[in-house]
Amino acid sequence: MSLLEVNQVSKSFGTYKALDQVSLSVPKGSIFGLLGPNGAGKTTLIRIVNQITMPDQGTVYLDGQKLAPHHISDIGYLPEERGLYKSMKVGEQALYLAQLKGMSKSEAKAQLKMWFERLEIGHWWDKKIQELSKGMAQKIQFVVTVLHRPKLLIFDEPFSGFDPINAQIIQREILRLKDEGATVIFSTHRMESVEELCDHIALVHKSKKILDGNLTQIKRAHLSNRFKVGIQCESRDQVLKAIGEKFSISPTEFKSVYQGVQFSLQLSDQDTPNAALTELSRFGMVYHFVAEVPSANDLFVQTIAQNSTSEDS
């Protein structure tokens, strides 16, 4: 069951095509990573979902309904270019923004108190934004985004401007919101957070979607029967030479307390890992034998590279 369906959406600005027939499906209750290089069209797509920009073609469905103005209160959006009114007081400003999202004043006030207490920022209520540091203002901004308990949360680079401790707090809150039933779209260039948070990803490149799906499944599909191997032995060169005659190997490095040879092993489709392991164990103690799983970063770089070359050729 998907909360957000993007169906064949295209958008041009003059002659520049920002989005070309992009379709996406964001499963309910998931954290969905929207990835892509700068200028790929992510922000345009996010703005279309937020009804800031209208698509030229295609439709967007939220919770099974065609996107309409009343959906504004179902979405919480933290844009990459963000800020607050500098000369307004924190509490007043948060109340205003919450009311714009359709909350009543008393409801917004109660929720705000709860959040301010949870993040231990209650004493900021009467301060002006210009008196706060950037990180503090970002915290307020986060609270304002999630305050009205939207079904769909869209975060564009949510961790920028935070120190590691506060980034941790925000990450914890995002996961808590997910547990409470929210669906999260998450756009970032920080692959380690994608790795930690995302269940699903979509990769947009040059206005087109080039990859999407469950992150684990994508990784499984990109397994290449390649292993990192470490064998404890005395005469390294001899061992490497002997193994090189039987298998295709390439040098690699990883940290280990053992002394010996380390290499990356590429198995052909006929070879099974178990047979290879038996074979290798004859050269010494195999202390390391790990399947190479592509990281989100590898997937990103590889897929973009493939698409760029296929386009060029």
Binding site: I52, L78, P79, E81, R82, L84, Y85, L97, L100
Partner: protein, 435 residues
């Protein structure tokens, strides 16, 4: 609709709580009063200086004519040569020396009369002297031709035309002056209001861009609602400020007249009779003024003032909002401001020069239909009586254009508020309309 209310409230409260707004609200009337008193004082000082003028009349025709006035004091020099007179005038630091040469006949006076002075003399002085000389010269020529003095005396009288419309309504020059004041004040008020609060709207749009809050806001409300909310909120703040100004100025003028009245009251008993006559005269003038005001199309003026004020102000305000959205900082606004300031300035010039000259002439009529100039020009024309169909046509045109500008401004606004970085060209602005 609920959003619009929220936005207007925020804009309004934010504006009137702003420190500089509060300071300006209470300081401006003080500054204004100070400025007016300084100008009044300076001009009175300027008028008070007596100008000493030496007259060397070698012709003997004019010497007896020169009588002193408030500003000019004449001294007719005894017969001496020009060089001596000049040295004398310079030595006594006189304002100037009027030299009339010896002539054979009056006709020879066409040229040769010279005014010597340290600097170029004030226009008022030369005009006054010339008028004096002209009248005497005319009289001399008439006398030479055998017209007797009585006839010459009878020649000079003032003709004053009575003004009356075909419908039988009496008007007067006083009335025309009042009409000008009413129309001019209305037009000028609108002009000032547009410039002051238009700029304020523009700045507040730019502020939302530079603080980067804009994307957060428009993920909750339509850009159009935000724009209209800004315009209405700022306008309400402006009206508040204006109302406070009017009240403060009112209090000032009451205090001022109170003080002046006291001064007058303390005058000597002897002066009282004269004052009573003066009172009667001023009462008559006041009555005439009241009558003239009564004769002005007051209802028409008031109704139209509000319509043009609203229409004209909103028209320009939406353009100011669009400019604010198109640029990143106030320094970039210059090239876009010029095209909207031009029609405003033209409107004021047309109003001041053409409408006074001929309130129903072609130029005045045309400019009172063009929507960008009609609010100012038509407001200046209305006291002189404008046919109803012209007024209706012009107002309809104004509000239709207003709808158009709001559409146009909203388009620019929608795209512009999300554009950062470079200043757009006009070509790009037109492209934005198609996004």
């Amino acid at each position: 609709m609920k959003h619009l209310g929220l936005i207007i409230t925020r804009e309004y409260l934010n504006k009137i709580r702003n420190k500089s707004f509060v300071v300006m609200t209470f300081l401006s009337p003080l500054l204004m009063a100070a400025l007016i008193s300084i100008v009044a004082y300076l001009s009175s000082v300027n008028n008070d200086t007596l100008k000493d003028i030496k007259v060397l009349d070698n012709s003997g025709y004019f010497g007896h004519l020169f009588t002193d006035s408030d500003q000019l004091r004449f001294e007719v020099l005894p017969d001496m040569d020009l060089q001596q007179a000049k040295t004398l005038a310079e030595a006594t630091s006189a304002y100037g020396l009027l030299y009339i040469p010896r002539v054979d006949s009056v006709a020879a006076l066409k040229k040769g009369i010279t005014f010597y002075s340290a600097d170029t003399p004030a226009l008022g002085v030369t005009v006054a002297i010339e008028r004096l000389l002209q009248r005497q010269a005319n009289a001399l020529v008439l006398r030479e031709n055998g017209i007797d003095d009585k006839a010459i005396e009878a020649l000079y009288f003032n003709v004053s035309t009575q003004l009356e419309t075909f419908a039988g309504q009496e008007t007067s020059k006083l009335g025309s002056g009042l009409k000008l004041i009413f129309g001019g004040a209305a037009g000028y008020l609108l002009f000032m209001f547009i410039i002051i609060y238009g700029n304020m709207i523009m700045r507040s749009v730019i502020e939302e861009k530079t603080s980067r809050i804009i994307e957060v806001i428009i993920s909750s409300v339509k850009p159009r609602a935000l724009m209209l909310g800004k315009i209405f909120g700022t306008t309400l703040a402006g009206i508040t400020q204006f109302a406070i100004w009017v009240i403060i100025l009112g209090i000032f003028s009451i205090i001022a007249t109170g003080v002046l009245g006291l001064e007058m009251g303390s005058g000597a008993d002897l002066a009282q009779e004269a004052a009573q006559i003066g009172d009667q005269e001023s009462q008559e003038i006041a009555l005439a003024v009241a009558r003239e005001i009564w004769q002005l199309p007051l209802t028409n003026l008031v109704v139209m003032f509000f319509l043009y004020f609203i229409g004209g102000y909103l028209l320009y305000a939406s353009l100011y909002a669009a400019i604010g959205a198109a640029v990143d900082s106030e320094t970039d606004t210059q090239q876009f401001l010029l095209p909207i300031l031009m029609p405003l300035i033209i409107a004021v010039y047309v109003g001041v020069f053409t409408v006074i000259e001929d309130p129903h002439g072609t130029i005045a009529q045309v400019f009172s239909f063009i929507p960008l100039t009609s609010p100012v020009v038509m407001l200046m024309r209305i006291p002189f009586g404008v046919p109803l169909w012209q007024q209706i046509f012009s107002v309809v045109l104004l509000f239709t254009t207003f709808m158009g500008t709001v559409w146009f401004a909203a388009k620019i606004y929608r795209v512009g508020i999300l554009m950062y970085g470079k200043k757009p060209s006009y070509k790009e602005l037109i492209k934005w309309l198609k996004y």
